[in-house]
C-alpha cells in the first residue's frame, strides 16, 4: 500500500478531484494548509507599510492506494495540478504498513 500526499494550488482542487475520480480513485482526504517553498512568499504594502506574505494557502490531498495503482495516480494527479508556474506544489509517495476499516475490521488492501 502507498500513501500519496500532494500539496497543490487551491484553485486546482476541482480539476484534480475530477481527474482522480475519472480513473477510479475511491477515497481521498483534503485539508487546507499554509506553507512556503523556495520562493518564501512575496511582499505587499498595507497603508504604506511593507509586510511579507510568507505562508501561502495550499490544499493538501491524501490518497491511500494499492501498490499497483500508485504510479498511474501520481501521473494523473501531477498533470491535473500543473499550470507550469512557480507554486504548483509537490507530490510525495510513501509506503503504508497497515490499513483497517473501522466498521467491520477489514485489514490490508481490502480495507482501502
Amino acid at each position: 500500500m502507498k500513501k500519496i500526499e500532494a500539496i497543490i494550488q487551491p484553485h486546482k482542487l476541482e480539476e484534480v478531484k475530477e481527474a482522480l475520480i475519472g480513473i477510479g480513485v475511491e477515497g481521498l482526504t483534503i485539508s487546507e494548509v499554509r506553507g512556503h517553498g523556495r520562493q518564501k512568499g512575496h511582499t505587499e504594502t498595507y497603508r504604506g507599510a511593507e509586510y511579507t506574505v510568507d505562508l501561502l494557502p495550499k490544499v493538501k490531498i491524501e490518497i491511500f492506494v494499492p501498490d499497483s495503482r500508485a504510479e498511474e495516480i501520481v501521473r494523473v494527479l501531477s498533470t491535473a495540478a500543473s499550470s507550469g508556474k512557480i507554486g504548483d506544489g509537490k507530490i510525495f509517495v510513501s509506503s503504508i504498513e497497515e490499513a483497517v476499516r473501522i466498521r467491520n475490521g477489514d485489514r490490508g488492501e481490502s480495507a482501502l
Partner: protein, 568 residues
C-alpha cells in the same frame, strides 16, 4: 510569584474602578449642584415641554428670511428709526383690519417649526446610524484577536459619552444658545439663555439645561439635544480609531466621560452655543466670526486631536515599529466591514451636513447634500490614484479613508461653497489624508491603526481653512449676527472667503482651527498624562499579545478560532 502577580493585577483593577467611579460621581455631583442652583436665577421665558406653544406668527418668515411680524423698534436714536416705526405702525393697522390673517399666521408658524422638527430629528437619526458605520469600519481595520474589544469600545462610547452629555455636556454647550445663536428654525429655545462663564458676546460656557431638566425640558430644546448629542457621539467614537488594540476598558470609559462632559461641549459652546469664537466678527471685526457649518473642527478635529493626544500617551501597539523604527503593517482583518462601514458613514453624512441647517425650510439643504457627495468621491478618487501612483496598487482601506477625508473637509464649508469648490476641497482632503497617514507612520511615529488622526484631525482643520478660502458669499447673510443688511458693501452677501474678497474671514478660520487643535490636544494630553501617571491606561504586554477580547470581556468575536487564539 503567580499569587503576587494576581494580587498586583487585582490592585490595579480596583484602582482603575475607583478612578472611574470617582469621576462618574464627580460629574453627577456637579450636575445636581447646578440643578439645585438653577431655580435661584431669575427665569423670564417658560419652557414648552408639550410643544403646543412653540411656533406661532413670530416664527413665520418668507423665503428671504424676512419676518411676517414687524416688531416695535426700541432704539430711538437709530438713523432708520423713523422708517422702522412707520413699518411697525402700518403692520399694526393691517393686523387690526385682518385679524383672521394674524390667526392663520399662528398656524403657519407652527407648521414651519413642525417641518423643521421633522427634518432635524430625522437627519439626527441618520447621524446616529453613523455609529454603526464607524463600528464596522474600525472593527474591520483591526486584527481579528481584538475585534470584540473594538466593537465594545464603540458600543460603550455611545452609552457613556451620552450619560456625560445628558448630565452636563448639553448645558455647557447650549445653555446660553439663545443669547447669540438662537436656533430660530426650531422656535428659538428662548429658555437656554445664561452663560455659566462669561456673558454677552464673550461667553465661554453655557449654564442652563443640566440633566436636560428645567429650562431644557422643552420641545424645541429636545430636538436640538437629540441632534447635537449624536454629533458629540461622533467625536466620541473617533478616538477609538487611534487608541484601539491596547487601551484598557476602564480608562476608555474615562476618556468618553471626558469627551462628553468637557472636551467637546466647551469648544462646541464657543462656536455653536453663541460663545466668544463665533462672535469675533461682532467684537473684533473678523469676518462673520469663526464659522464651522456642520463640524469639521467642532466635531471631527476635536475627536482627531483628542485621539492624537491619547495615542501619544498610550504609545504605539507592540511591534508596530521595528527596532530600526520602520513601521510594520498589521493588515485589516475584514475589508468587507471596512467598505460597508464607509458606505454607512457616507449615508449618515447626508444627515450630518444637510441636517445642520436645523430646518428643511432652509432650501440650501440641496446644495449642501450635493457638495457633501462631491467632496466624498473626489477625496476617494484622489486617495486611490495617489496610492496607485506611489505603491503600484490602490489600497482599499486608503480609498475608504479618502472618502471620509473628503467628507470631513467639506463638513465646515458645505453650505457656503459652490459644487466646483466642493470637488476641489475633496481632492485636497484626499491628498492630506494620504500624506497624513505616511507622515504619522514615518515621521511622528504616532500609531494610528484606523487613520483617525489624519482623517478627522488633519482634514478637519483643512475643512475650516477651506471655508475661509472658498466661501462664495451666496449663503449665510447675517451669520453670527454679522452683516444682516449688507456685507462687503453688498446687500444679502453671506459668509465670504479669501478667493472671493474677505481676508479677515480667512484669518479667522486659520485662528479658529488652530485654537481647536490646541484645545483638543492640549486638554486631553494634560488630563490623561496625569491619569496614566496614576495607573497605566494600557493593558499588560501579555494581554496585548494574546488579544484583548478574552482578557477584557471573556469572549472572542469569532469563537471558532478559540483553539488558535489560546495557542498563540
Amino acid at each position: 510569584m503567580k499569587a503576587k502577580l494576581q494580587i498586583e493585577r487585582l490592585r490595579h483593577q480596583l484602582l482603575g474602578k475607583a478612578l472611574l467611579r470617582g469621576s462618574i460621581m464627580l460629574v453627577v455631583a456637579a450636575g445636581i449642584m447646578v440643578v439645585l442652583l438653577t431655580p435661584c436665577i431669575a427665569q423670564e421665558s417658560k419652557p414648552d415641554p408639550a410643544g403646543i406653544a412653540t411656533g406661532d406668527k413670530t416664527t413665520v418668515v418668507d423665503a428671504g428670511g424676512n419676518a411676517f411680524v414687524i416688531t416695535e423698534p426700541t432704539d430711538k436714536t437709530a438713523p432708520d428709526y423713523a422708517q422702522k416705526k412707520k413699518d411697525f405702525d402700518e403692520f399694526q393697522a393691517q393686523a387690526a383690519k385682518e385679524p383672521l390673517t394674524v390667526k392663520l399666521a399662528d398656524a403657519v408658524g407652527h407648521i414651519r417649526v413642525a417641518t423643521n422638527f421633522a427634518w432635524t430629528l430625522n437627519t439626527g437619526y441618520l447621524v446616529l446610524f453613523m455609529q454603526a458605520g464607524f463600528a464596522l469600519l474600525t472593527c474591520g481595520l483591526v486584527r481579528k484577536k481584538n475585534a470584540a474589544h473594538l466593537m465594545m469600545l464603540n458600543f460603550a462610547a455611545y452609552v457613556f459619552a451620552f450619560i456625560a452629555y445628558y448630565a452636563v455636556g448639553y448645558a455647557f454647550q447650549f445653555g446660553a444658545v439663545a443669547v447669540n445663536a438662537a436656533p430660530s428654525n426650531l422656535g428659538g429655545t428662548p429658555t437656554l439663555n445664561h452663560f455659566l462663564v462669561g456673558s454677552g458676546l464673550w461667553g465661554f460656557l453655557g449654564g442652563k439645561g443640566f440633566f436636560m431638566a428645567g429650562p431644557a425640558y422643552d420641545a424645541g430644546s429636545n430636538v436640538l439635544a437629540l441632534f447635537e448629542v449624536v454629533f458629540m457621539e461622533t467625536a466620541g467614537y473617533i478616538i477609538v480609531g487611534s487608541i484601539c488594540e491596547r487601551i484598557s476598558f476602564w480608562s476608555f470609559l474615562l476618556c468618553e466621560l471626558f469627551v462628553g462632559a468637557i472636551l467637546y461641549p466647551v469648544f462646541g459652546c464657543w462656536v455653536w452655543g453663541g460663545g466668544w469664537l463665533s462672535q469675533l466678527g461682532n467684537t473684533m471685526g473678523l469676518g462673520h466670526g469663526y464659522v464651522d457649518f456642520a463640524g469639521s473642527t467642532v466635531v471631527h478635529a476635536i475627536g482627531g486631536f483628542c485621539a492624537m493626544a491619547l495615542s501619544v500617551v498610550l504609545g504605539p501597539r507592540l511591534g508596530k515599529f521595528g527596532p530600526d523604527g520602520r513601521p510594520r503593517a498589521f493588515p485589516a482583518h475584514n475589508l468587507v466591514y471596512v467598505v460597508i462601514g464607509t458606505f454607512i458613514l457616507l449615508f449618515g453624512w447626508m444627515g450630518f451636513n444637510p441636517g445642520s441647517t436645523l430646518g428643511a425650510t432652509d432650501l440650501r439643504i440641496s446644495v449642501v447634500a450635493i457638495n457633501t457627495n462631491l467632496a466624498a468621491i473626489a477625496g476617494s478618487a484622489t486617495a486611490m490614484l495617489f496610492w496607485y501612483w506611489k505603491f503600484g496598487k490602490p489600497d482599499i482601506t486608503m480609498a475608504c479613508n479618502g472618502m471620509l477625508a473628503g467628507l470631513v473637509a467639506i463638513t465646515a464649508p458645505c453650505a457656503f461653497v459652490a459644487p466646483g469648490s466642493a470637488f476641489i476641497i475633496g481632492i485636497l482632503a484626499g491628498l492630506v489624508v494620504c500624506l497624513g497617514v505616511l507622515f504619522n507612520d514615518n515621521v511622528t511615529k504616532i500609531d494610528d491603526p484606523c487613520g483617525a488622526i489624519s482623517v478627522h484631525g488633519f482634514c478637519g482643520v483643512l475643512g475650516a481653512i477651506c471655508l475661509g478660502l472658498f466661501a462664495d458669499g451666496t449663503y449665510g447673510a447675517g451669520w453670527n449676527g454679522v452683516g444682516a443688511t449688507s456685507y462687503l458693501g453688498q446687500a444679502g452677501r453671506g459668509v465670504t472667503g479669501l478667493f472671493y474678497g474677505d481676508t479677515k474671514q480667512f484669518l479667522m478660520q486659520m485662528m479658529g482651527a488652530a485654537i481647536c487643535a490646541t484645545w483638543a490636544f492640549g486638554a486631553t494630553f494634560i488630563v490623561f498624562k496625569a491619569v496614566n501617571g496614576v495607573k497605566s491606561m494600557r493593558v499588560s504586554k501579555e494581554v496585548e499579545q494574546e488579544g484583548l477580547d478574552v482578557p477584557e470581556f471573556g469572549l472572542l468575536a469569532y469563537p471558532e478560532d478559540a483553539i488558535h487564539a489560546t495557542e498563540s
